[in-house]
Assembly symmetry: D2
Homo-oligomer: 135 residues x 4
Amino acid sequence: MDKIERVGVSLDKTLLGEFDHLISKQGYTNRSEAIRDLIRESLSKDKLANPAAPAVAGVFLVYDHHFTKLTDKLLKLQHSHLLQVIASTHVHLDHHNCLEVIILKGKVKDIEDLANNITALKGVKLSRMNLMTIG
Amino acid sequence: MDKIERVGVSLDKTLLGEFDHLISKQGYTNRSEAIRDLIRESLSKDKLANPAAPAVAGVFLVYDHHFTKLTDKLLKLQHSHLLQVIASTHVHLDHHNCLEVIILKGKVKDIEDLANNITALKGVKLSRMNLMTIG
Amino acid sequence: MDKIERVGVSLDKTLLGEFDHLISKQGYTNRSEAIRDLIRESLSKDKLANPAAPAVAGVFLVYDHHFTKLTDKLLKLQHSHLLQVIASTHVHLDHHNCLEVIILKGKVKDIEDLANNITALKGVKLSRMNLMTIG
Amino acid sequence: MDKIERVGVSLDKTLLGEFDHLISKQGYTNRSEAIRDLIRESLSKDKLANPAAPAVAGVFLVYDHHFTKLTDKLLKLQHSHLLQVIASTHVHLDHHNCLEVIILKGKVKDIEDLANNITALKGVKLSRMNLMTIG
């Protein structure tokens, strides 16, 4: 376990009051934890600006149910050797639409390249991607 | 199956050339399909502005592996009766971190309320959310 | 001037080290100030979720130089009585394109309605909008 | 003037109906123009992924009125020789806050570097950036 350090932050009273109100609304019971989460978030954003940073992504695809499971096709098309599929989940949304969530590991750049080209796949109607750096 | 209509679009030659180049790079083999995807995307964005629109969401959580599966806790905390969990996938990222992807159905507003409060959950280090309208 | 309070935050050493490295890269000379900025940003995001919150916006328009100054047209079309133009700046980008930046004051909801409809204005090729809450 | 070409797009009736409804709500009087705007937007997004692409940016700063005009400081700090200030507009928001909008020209990468470091400037409370590719 990492050594814990204690850091002091100066805040004017109004700003602190507003912040305490916000984090209590969000469900935090502890101010330190809320500030740690802001710090983690800013570190994560910074790492995402590095194309070579290791990341994990969730790719969401809504596609026509007449098309078969797309995971294989997707990765074959997209230099799959650069990305590693950790898991994929298939959900039947309605008569016309399937949702597939694919969890991938790879470099930021390779994941973004994939995300930019997914919607072009035959049958894919909408796509979204979430990217988080790790480690 | 829906009736297909044919629509004419006027484009200046330079814009058309750039667009053809982009969609070929993205992997489209068909200009109509690329334009249909742009149209679907603009409709999807518009629907997301409606708090009552039905939507499907993917919630991404990175959390400390010392905490147990969060899905139940999450939904208990967050008026779970308004949201329906369709599926959840749990992935072991490394010694310290787990990733959990939860696919939810519900109204735009209820999903956004959930997303705003997730990071406050004890043990959650990072969270991301994707929202897509359906139907 | 507001009363200053001193708040303690517990951080594990690794996280603190990474954060110190990031903020030094960003040009901060003071850790308190970096954390205050994260707090302000999180408060600002939260306020933007309230449609009635007072906000200031910067609207960016790239448009064809054959069309005349759009500010008036824009606000006439868009319930101008709900929004107040503070300033607008017009820039000649190149032979074909002008850029206009319009600074507006109004409620979050009214500004977003405007932003969603701007690109539809005859001659507007691209638009972007920034929204910040104030006060 | 560029030569105009006519392109045919096949759309199912439901999708076309929804699109016509959306663009009419947005104020379009012409379907071709709405589709052209979607195409321009997708081209613009693609160009922004190229760090060397020429772009124009609007930087928004909210800062404490006790600090003097920041434009000069900003550019001195940030390799100003890579960016060209086209115009800047200063607005007095309220007793505590000034807004400054700075219109810049430069490469995508150089503008993003600037944007990532602005909030660190002494006195800056919030910053936002808009980026559009040109030419």
